[in-house]
């Protein structure tokens, strides 16, 4: 029997801790910074006697967050559904369109410049328009604006991924007499996955922005954007800030969910498994 050569790297072991990527110890520096910044914020406002309408104390925001937790949760959940709907719709369509454009290159060459140009448009400016297309009280108007916001970064990233395949890898598939469908399934799509996730992570943030800012132009009374806007108008800044914190947490939750899915899917990439 032959001698077995030693592995260069150990096989990574999966585990629940790996899902989010790091051990608790790795998060410690970030937690210290977070606690430090909040503490400093609290101390500075007390020391400099900053007016509450400029910037409330973190402790006040936290108390408001707790006192109004039911209202905030309802509003947050409402807006989160809009953001999630827009994210799924926009990203899903973008991935399908990218597959079509990558498969038929002429179509891609004809349409890609417009996609890239459209990516540079401040799409949020269209929010008042979608509010008139659909009822402002309806979730659809915010889902559409969030979807359009998500569409272009996912499209551009997916397309780049699908077309940045090693030419040798394609030659190899040709040598196996593989058809286009096989090449997409077995080479182009796996190659594109890290790019797709990059696009999706950008899209999570945009989806939340789209939903909240869309609501600033009019929305249901129990929506988070409307809550933030109305409370700020009547000088209840601690409540407005509590709403912003909820929006941040919701956006973060969506981002972390996608990042976790990425780690779970891309186990072969060294940086995600180690």
């Amino acid at each position: 029997m032959s001698t077995t050569p030693a592995a260069v790297q150990p096989v990574p072991r999966g585990g629940l801790g790996r899902l989010v990527g790091r051990r608790v110890v790795d998060w410690l520096p970030a937690v210290v910074v977070l606690v430090g910044v909040i503490g400093l914020w609290e101390v500075l406002i007390r020391a400099l006697d900053v007016q509450a309408f400029l910037l409330p104390k973190p402790s006040e925001i936290a108390r408001t967050l707790w006192d109004n937790r039911h209202e905030l949760w309802t509003a947050g959940w409402f807006t989160f559904q809009e953001a999630l709907g827009g994210f799924l719709l926009g990203s899903g369509l973008a991935i399908i369109v990218a597959l079509v454009l990558a498969r038929w290159r002429l179509l891609g060459a004809a349409l890609l410049p417009f996609a890239i140009a459209a990516n540079a448009i401040p799409i949020i400016a269209f929010a008042p328009i979608t509010n008139t297309w659909f009822s402002p009280l309806n979730k659809s108007s915010k889902i559409v604006i969030a979807a359009i916001l998500c569409f272009f970064p996912v499209l551009v990233n997916t397309l780049r991924g699908l077309t940045s395949v090693n030419p040798r890898a394609l030659e190899l598939m040709h040598s196996y007499a593989a058809g286009q469908a096989e090449i997409f399934r077995r080479v182009r799509i796996p190659t594109a996955l890290p790019f797709i996730f990059t696009g999706l992570k950008v899209a999570t943030v945009l989806a939340m922005i789209g939903a909240v800012v869309g609501e600033y132009f009019g929305g249901a009374l129990n929506a988070l954007g409307v809550l933030i806007l109305t409370r700020a108008r009547v000088f209840q800044f601690d409540e407005a800030w509590a709403g912003i914190v909820v929006a941040c947490l919701m956006g973060l939750a969506l981002y972390i969910a996608v990042a976790a899915l990425e780690r779970l899917t891309l186990r072969w990439v060294p940086s995600t498994s180690e």
């Binding site: 040598s175 196996y176 593989a178 060294p270």
Partner: protein
């Protein structure tokens, strides 16, 4: 019947003539190296045999069929300078890829992958991902993958060019053992004179601009080749013969017409 038959093949890329008027026949069981300076069209010739590019004129036949039909019938396996492993597939799954495309059932695939892993001495690394392997190990996976579906012909484009000298010599030995065990025909592109002489039954010397065959040297070193083959006087004579053929090719090209 010849495994490879090339008749008067010319390939132009726009204004550039990559290869011109190539005639070459390769018999079953041969190990033929294509050697020559950069730009002599040796990789182009290999790709024409594999139907990865098509000649401008002339014909390439593999196993008595047009190269295109041979490719569709999966008559050859190919290995590049980079291992070109699919990063998202484990070692086993990389080797199994051509078998999946050829619609082998799962059981046969598993058995064959096991056999190939033993052949290239990588048993125990089934579930490793490519990035966890050294360059030499990656190239062994690539060779196992090319041989997994028992092709009659193995095409190799500078497969050990990116490896260090010691790994290269070890893989040379392993490749010869695999060649003997699998009784396939090998076409091997290389820059290294010593490697070509050590491995081959025949060395095809090419000259550049346009790529032509300038000489064919039979390597009559006894089989099987061993570690001591490289120390035999006749080995050095053949190395010298190939080197001189290479320089002759250069001089002819430089000589005023």
């Amino acid at each position: 019947m010849s495994v490879v038959q090339i008749k008067d093949v010319t390939k132009r890329f726009g204004e550039t003539t990559a290869v011109e008027g190539i005639d070459l026949e390769i018999e079953p069981g041969e190990f033929v190296s294509l050697i020559g300076p950069s730009g002599c069209g040796k990789s182009t010739l290999l790709r024409i045999i594999g139907d990865l590019i098509q000649p401008t004129s002339g014909t390439a036949t593999v196993n008595g069929k047009p190269a295109r039909q041979a490719r569709i019938d999966r008559d050859y396996g190919i290995v590049f300078q980079d291992a070109v492993l699919y990063d998202w597939r484990t070692v086993s799954k990389n080797i199994a890829l051509p078998l999946e495309l050829a619609r082998w059932d799962r059981r046969r695939r598993v058995d064959k992958v096991k056999e190939m892993l033993e052949l290239v001495e990588l048993s125990g690394f089934e579930n490793h991902y490519p990035w966890q392997l050294s360059g030499g190990m990656q190239q062994r996976v690539s060779i196992a993958r090319a041989l997994s579906f028992d092709p009659a012909l193995l095409l190799m484009d500078e497969p050990f060019g990116a490896l260090d000298e010691m790994t290269r010599e070890r893989l040379n030995m392993e490749l010869l053992q695999i060649w003997e065990a699998s009784s396939s025909t090998v076409v091997f592109v290389t820059h290294s004179i010593a490697e070509a002489v050590f491995l081959s039954t025949r060395v095809v010397v090419m000259s550049p601009r346009p790529g032509r065959i300038s000489n064919v040297i039979s390597i009559d070193l006894p089989q099987p080749r061993t570690a001591t083959t490289r120390e035999e006087p006749h080995f050095f004579e053949l190395v010298t013969a190939v080197r001189e053929a290479l320089h002759l090719g250069h001089d002819l090209e430089r000589a005023p017409v």
